[in-house]
Amino acid sequence: MHEYCRGDKRTFADNRGVIVKIGLEIHQRLLTHKLFCNCPSELNDEKEPTLVVRRYLHPVFSELGEIDLAAMAEFEKSRMFEYQAFARSNCLVELDEEPPFPLNIDALKIAIEIALHLNAKIADEIHIMRKIVIDGSNTTGFQRTAVIGFNGYVETSKGRIGIPFIALEEESAGIVEAKEGRVVYRLDRLGIPLVEISTTPDIKDPEHLKEVAEKIGLILRATGKVARGIGTIRQDLNVSVEGGARVEIKGAQELKLLPALIENEVRRQKKLIAVIEEIRKRKGYGVKEGAKIIDVSDILAGTSSSLIKRALENGEVVLGIRLQRHAGILGTELQPGKRYGTELSDYAKQAGVKGIIHSDEDLFKYGFEEDEIESIKKRLSVGEGDAFVLVAAKMNVAEKALANVIERASIERVPEETRRANPDGTTSYLRPLPGRARMYPETDVLPVLVDEKLISEVRKGMGISYESRRESLLTILNKELAEKMLRSKHLKLFEKLVADGVDPVLAAVTIENTLVSLRREGLELRDVDNVLMKVFSEYKKGRFTKAAIPEILRETAMGKQPDLVMAQEGVRKISGEELERIARENNFDIKKIMSKYRIRIEADELMEIIKKSKNLG
């Protein structure tokens, strides 16, 4: 959502001297029910939906006669959307069959709290907007979003990073699959409240990006009011490359991926600029005039390529186009494992094909024969220095796919795009960058006045900030444990235990080390909060030793009742007279006693007894 600052010097030059601007957008799910209805914000693991609803979306006709470019690109696909609704997670609101409820005030309060932690000013009145998104991921065709705070900032090791806007918005539906002409979405996710935090493009370099993302993430977590776990936080990047274009990279789920995404995007754009230069030099543009879509199915009627054979048997066709003076260009690598041909292919896929076949690939790999290739070249008038592209699909889909390829091949610059982050650090084309003319008021939801009362309610319920929490942790734990605890999802439990008088180091070690090593053994402790509260309360009564705690947790994780585990004779602490007696009986032999009674004895106490006996002796 954010605007690039022009003409300033807040940029970073990568090691090859290209000026790059980086901005970050973070989306974080909040721990409260859905934003515009009372459904729980829970993803369910049900496979069978309660109801499947089929819909189409169409762009709304604007007064200005312009339909948003990104919206139009999705419309071109004229896809049918199939929505899977689940009784547990959905109501008529997500199905777009009932108007939205008033804005979830708890979500608003959390968003305001986050904005305050980010040093932002809060809007006096919140206005919900509709942001047109017609890829089907919202049943309404728009995402509801509102600016909550603005003019904030976050301190980092390389200076202050501005946070111009903090928005509260609804999560989209999760995609299940996309087939030709049909996209399937699950609705359990739709409507979960998200906070969107965008930074100014002041980020210095890929490592700094990681730091900013992590810092904001920690601030969010410190509130204790945001969701944790996979998919609950997403990082989108805005990357502008000098001489290239602004690109939005969506959906990076791992922080460690961020530097690679930046590096790859800078490399992609630089190589793309070189490719464009090369095509220009060859006078290869003007593709549109030269490229005619031609049916080559008959040439391949008896092909041994199983891919093509299957397609033809399904009533599909093979269409081809010539790309003049493009030989070798399509094979130029732009990102690791992705070529210029991949860029064309990504556009073709928008029409619903699985991919393209092009002349810079090893065509024998597909099972084509030499004479088939020659006949195709002849049919498409492919001469020396030309390239060609083939697709196999239903006639209308194939035509649209090749039209998209021609469209992309005609762009004589790095296109402004929204791209998807792949798990390997590369990116793929998603859609054109949305224009700015696609927001209008959500008239079904009333604006919310943010008055002093609301703000003071937020302040009252506000957790300790990340900074002060870090400081207080450093006073009771060493740096390593403190940093671990700050990032722990059990931070709240830790604070509760410490408040109950448990030794902070013991609590932290148990939460962070013991549970982790159990996990490594394949044992997952359930109901962690309750179990640990119980175990430590018994420990305080002196029922067992510190060393027994991992044992007790291991047995509990294996499925036993913690109460029964703690009552076992095998963990009961031996101390006082009983320990003295045992020590005597074993001639004060530490090694022997410890190996026999292990976790039941506090070594300190035994040492004390032995010392005493020696003094006496």
Binding site: V60, F61, L95, E98, D124, G141, R436, V448
Partner: protein, 437 residues
């Protein structure tokens, strides 16, 4: 509207909605377009920032400066002279509109050109002409509007239209459809009312499918007033309902419109050229046989019978020319046949209305099913008092509209009773069909 304080300030500084302004407050500096206020606190200024978001900034303590005057919206000249085969008449509702993204304002789309832009596929089905009769929320409409729609339809028929589509708000579309059904008899062309449950300013609006199917139906061989709306919550097909049988049965769902006590006329899907007939319908009549009977009496009341109802309420209806009761069950109201002292019957009050020459018509809250006022004493007592309706399977709303219309046709109580109990436009059926629809 903004508060008087803000309005005065804006006027004094020559600032109007749509202008580019700079606001400086303790929260920071903002620049954007001044938005109109439609809801929320009237002492908060709403501006649209350059990133598209609107935010509210308290006027107190802010400095507002004009940066640039906005350009007023150009009102398009309506295209005239297009004489397409299907006439589309606008009565309001949100089925066709366009958004001004700059301000977020929504305007109705009504010229043929605008309609073709809103519904690009319309040209695959028919050539069109269009005009706006009025633009109202349907809950604001009354008998006067039914009459002017009927007159508009007749004008278009006389001007050669081969079918009529009426764009209408959904709340009272059933009433209008029933009224047109009685006013326009022996129709030579179909009259199809259409609306949208999701407003047209959202990409998910079902307006497009409803409209295209309505135009498709308007080209068929039907000689009735119908309603064309979504059949399910999927975007798959529409039902074409008989005007006297259709009722809005849900506040918000796309498939809110249902045919009651009779199947819809057809299941319709223009894309697949599908018109599956589900019940018999009247074919187009000869052009010359069109009967226009638009006279109507709007001095008719409809009340819902309920526990605790007081005779006073019924007595208060004596100023009306007709009364429709929405009774319980088979067509009942408290009559106290057992003479129980704890009961407060309204029988005498109803009888008094009937005796004074006010037709009292029964219908049922159950919506579905037929009135049968012979089964229990209650019903028999009401029939004896003069209540009209035993054996009818009409909708309360249709009975209401029909009584208004009947009172417009005659003042003779006997004729009114006869007219009411005669099937005119499919509002009464002889057999209660066994269907699942």
């Amino acid at each position: 509207m903004y508060s008087k304080r803000i309005e005065d300030f804006l006027r004094k500084n020559n600032i109007s909605v749509g202008d580019r302004v700079a606001i400086s407050s303790e929260k920071g500096e903002f620049e954007g377009l001044l938005m109109p206020r439609t809801a929320g606190d009237e002492d908060v200024l709403v501006i649209k920032l350059d990133n598209g978001y609107n935010i509210g900034i308290r006027f107190s303590g802010s400095k507002v400066k004009l940066i640039e005057k906005g350009k007023p919206r150009e009102i398009e000249t309506r295209e005239k002279g297009e004489k397409g085969e299907i006439a589309i008449l606008g009565c309001g509702g949100t089925i066709a509109s366009k958004i001004e993204y700059k301000t977020g304002a929504v305007y109705p789309a009504i010229t043929p050109e605008e309609l073709r832009m809103t519904f690009p596929d319309i040209k695959k089905i028919a050539t069109i002409r269009s005009r706006s009769l009025f633009s109202l929320f349907s809950e604001d409409m009354n008998a006067t509007h039914w009459k002017s729609i009927a007159e508009g339809v007749v004008e278009e028929i006389r001007d050669g239209a081969k079918g009529i589509v009426v764009m209408h708000g959904t709340d009272t579309m059933g009433y209008t459809a029933a009224a047109l059904s009685f006013m326009l008899q022996n129709l030579p062309v179909p009259v199809v009312l259409v609306g949208a449950q999701r407003s047209s300013d959202r990409p998910s609006s079902e307006n497009e499918m409803n409209m295209l199917n309505a135009v498709y139906c308007a080209k068929r061989d039907i000689g009735e007033v119908c309603v064309c709306m979504h059949a399910s919550i999927n975007d798959d097909f529409c039902y074409l309902h008989r005007g006297t049988r259709v009722r809005k049965m849900h506040t918000s769902r796309r498939d809110a419109f249902r045919s009651i006590n009779s199947p819809p006329i057809a299941a319709v899907d223009w894309k697949n050229d599908r018109f599956d007939v589900l019940s018999e319908y009247k074919k187009r009549s000869q052009y010359g046989s069109l009967e226009v009977k638009t006279k109507i009496n709007d001095n008719v009341a409809m009340i819902y019978i309920h526990p605790n109802i007081k005779p006073k309420l019924i007595e208060s209806l004596s100023d009306y020319d007709g009364v429709v009761l929405v009774g319980t069950g088979l067509g009942h109201a408290p009559t106290n046949p057992f003479n129980d002292r704890s009961v407060r019957p309204v029988l005498q009050a109803i009888k008094n209305l009937c005796d004074s020459g006010i037709p009292v018509v029964m219908s049922s809250q159950t919506i579905s099913g037929r009135l049968c006022m012979r089964v229990y004493t209650t019903g028999r007592l009401l029939v004896d008092a003069g209540v009209i309706g035993d054996g009818m399977d009409w909708l309360p709303e249709t009975a209401y509209v029909k009584l208004c219309w009947a009172l417009g046709q005659t003042k003779d109580m006997k004729k009114i009773r006869e007219l009411m109990c005669t099937n005119i436009a499919g509002e009464i059926s002889e057999r209660s069909q066994i269907t699942e629809v």
